[in-house]
């Protein structure tokens, strides 16, 4: 049987793992796909290559397909989110100087950290983020919007340069995906203060995206890709596979990063400060459990609302998170489906059982640090 060649763009970060595993462990091959992973130098380049048809599919920051579909951010194009690739997995860190200024703040306490930063003397806090249309930037804005005294300047820095940007004093803090937070700690230029989930406990981080027209014209290839990635994410979530996953990621040519830098994100054991013991962070980076791969339309709506769009924009955003395709393409391989495709974002403070196609499924907490909830239905 001849295989369908599929070009999929990605940026070398730990959370590209589902794509690498889908290829390297043969989940894509079993589906009849020759998955060609094409490394991209920046999110802008990845966006252009996808929009102009040089890539069939791509790993994207979750706000990118939303922004493109509602016509924001450089290159408008109807881009669909087929599924979520990863939930959470980002860290917020500050320079050693800022850490000394604000004194001891318990790791992961978003409220305490916000008040400590607000009372800090001095100019505005320059925070490095990877891209304008990123969950990092949206969470930063959401978190700091409740502290009017805290002046923030967002500066886009390519993640591999984040540690240097802190060392050179170009930024005072950063919000970045792993391994780049651990790299900054390893170079003893910064301390990690919290993770993304301390602001939103269930934030869709990376998604699998493709042009809407391509999806419509390539229904089979879309389904094959989704099934391969779904199986890869299930494999990644099994704790016993973590050591092997670290090794495969380190050895493959896709992620030129050493194993000890990949391990913290996958194991959740995060070293927050040099020469200290790692802090175990539960649900640091989620690939599969608790319907992590399900593209909730309400997640798209939350992203759109943070981008400040109107009701029509929110509807466009919802439509680009393809919960319908997820149900259609993954039901056949035994994926459990939530009863609804939207939820009240922020309403869950504990693991909660909800109705699903196979009885009940347990959803992860999805509360925001300030307890707000968002109902877009």
């Amino acid at each position: 049987m001849s295989q369908t060649v599929l070009n999929c763009g990605y940026v070398p970060l730990v959370d590209c793992a589902p794509l690498v595993i889908a290829k390297e462990l043969g989940f894509a091959g079993e589906e009849g796909l020759a998955l060609n992973l094409v490394r991209q130098p920046s999110w802008s380049a990845l966006r252009d290559m996808l929009a102009l048809g040089h890539l069939d599919a791509a790993q994207m920051l979750s706000p990118m397909p939303v922004a493109m579909s509602i016509g924001l951010g450089g290159l408008p194009a109807r881009v669909d989110t087929l599924m979520v690739l990863s939930v959470n997995g980002t860290v917020f860190g500050v320079s050693n100087d800022v850490a000394a200024d604000i004194g001891t703040v318990p790791f992961g306490d978003a409220n305490a950290l916000l008040s400590a930063l607000s009372t800090r003397k001095g100019a505005k806090l320059r925070v490095g983020v990877p891209f304008h249309y990123s969950m990092h930037r949206l969470l930063l804005s959401y978190w700091t919007s409740t502290a009017p005294n805290l002046q923030i300047e967002e500066i886009t820095v390519p993640p591999p340069r984040m540690a240097d940007a802190v060392a050179d004093g170009f930024v005072d803090a950063f919000w970045v995906g792993e391994p780049w937070g651990s790299v900054a700690v390893g170079q003893n230029v910064a301390q990690l203060m919290m993770t993304g989930k301390d602001v939103w406990q269930f934030a869709p981080e990376k998604v699998l995206a493709a042009r809407h027209d391509w999806v419509e014209a390539n229904g089979d290839a879309s389904a094959q890709l989704m099934r391969a990635v779904y199986k890869a994410s299930a494999w990644l979530d099994a704790q016993k596979n973590t050591p092997l996953a670290v090794e495969i990621l380190a050895r493959s040519e896709h992620l030129s990063i050493s194993p000890d830098l990949i391990d913290p994100a996958l194991s959740g054991d995060i070293v927050t400060k040099q020469n200290t013991a790692p802090t175990p962070v539960g649900r640091f980076l989620q690939f599969h459990k608790h319907a992590a791969t399900f593209p909730w339309r309400s997640q798209a709506a939350w992203i759109a609302s943070q981008l400040g769009v109107d009701v029509a924009g929110i509807e466009k955003a919802k439509a680009c998170f393809r919960a319908d395709l997820y149900r259609q393409n993954l039901a056949g391989i035994g994926a459990d489906m939530p009863g609804a495709s939207e939820k009240e974002e922020g309403a869950l403070h504990f693991e909660t059982a909800v109705a699903s196609t196979r009885g009940h499924m347990v959803l992860s907490p999805d509360a925001f640090f300030d307890g707000r909830t968002f109902d877009f239905s």
Binding site: P41, G74, F131
Partner: protein, 194 residues
């Protein structure tokens, strides 16, 4: 002519910068500025207020450049060229030459077209030179691996250099592989066994 356009070239490599600027100046644009370090980008964009920013498609600093164009006041905001898809051929040509351009919103396509054509032509030449250089480096690396494989065969099997090469070539032919691949496998195996 459109000589009054302000063009900013973001490129760390001084030789490439010179090549691009020379090409633009030869074509009649004089108001061209080059920038190597992103740390000065914010200030440069504000002070120089370029109409067009040219940057290598693969430059990781593109994300930073885009952010600055978001943050600049809306009246004079540089947006990705690809916004203007009225000229899809030009857009695709830019993409395959490896140049991305950011232009101030509202600039007419016919005003910037010749700038882009000049840039595309220059980037194409640079890309070709780079791939020729990469090929030469690769050929040298291949050569080294084949020499090492020959050395191993000469030592282990007491062959002459010619015989060692012929053995590699025959093995490659019978397995329908490249000589380099056979040599590479032999060198790897020898490293594992030593």
């Amino acid at each position: 002519m459109n000589q009054n356009l302000r063009i900013l070239v973001v490129e760390p490599d001084p030789e490439r910068v010179r090549a691009i600027i020379d090409a633009l100046k030869d074509a009649g644009w004089s108001d061209v500025k080059a920038l190597a370090h992103m740390s000065a980008l914010d200030r440069t964009v504000k002070e120089f207020a370029p109409d067009i920013v040219l940057i290598d498609l693969t430059n990781p600093d593109r994300d930073t450049l885009e952010h600055i164009s978001h943050a600049t006041e809306t009246s004079k905001r540089a947006v990705a060229l690809f916004v203007d898809q009225t000229d899809d051929i030009l857009t695709q040509a830019a993409l395959s030459a490896g140049v991305s351009a950011y232009v101030v919103d509202g600039l007419k396509m016919d005003r910037i077209k010749s700038v882009l054509e000049t840039a595309i032509a220059r980037f194409k030449i640079m890309r070709q030179m780079q791939s020729e250089l990469d090929a030469a480096i690769q050929a040298l690396e291949d050569r080294k691996t084949i020499d090492r494989a020959k050395g191993i065969l000469m030592r282990q099997r007491g062959l002459s250099e010619d015989d060692a090469y012929n053995l590699l070539r025959k093995t490659a032919m019978s397995q329908n592989r490249k000589v380099f691949d056979v040599a590479h496998a032999l060198v790897t195996a020898a490293e594992l066994l030593s």
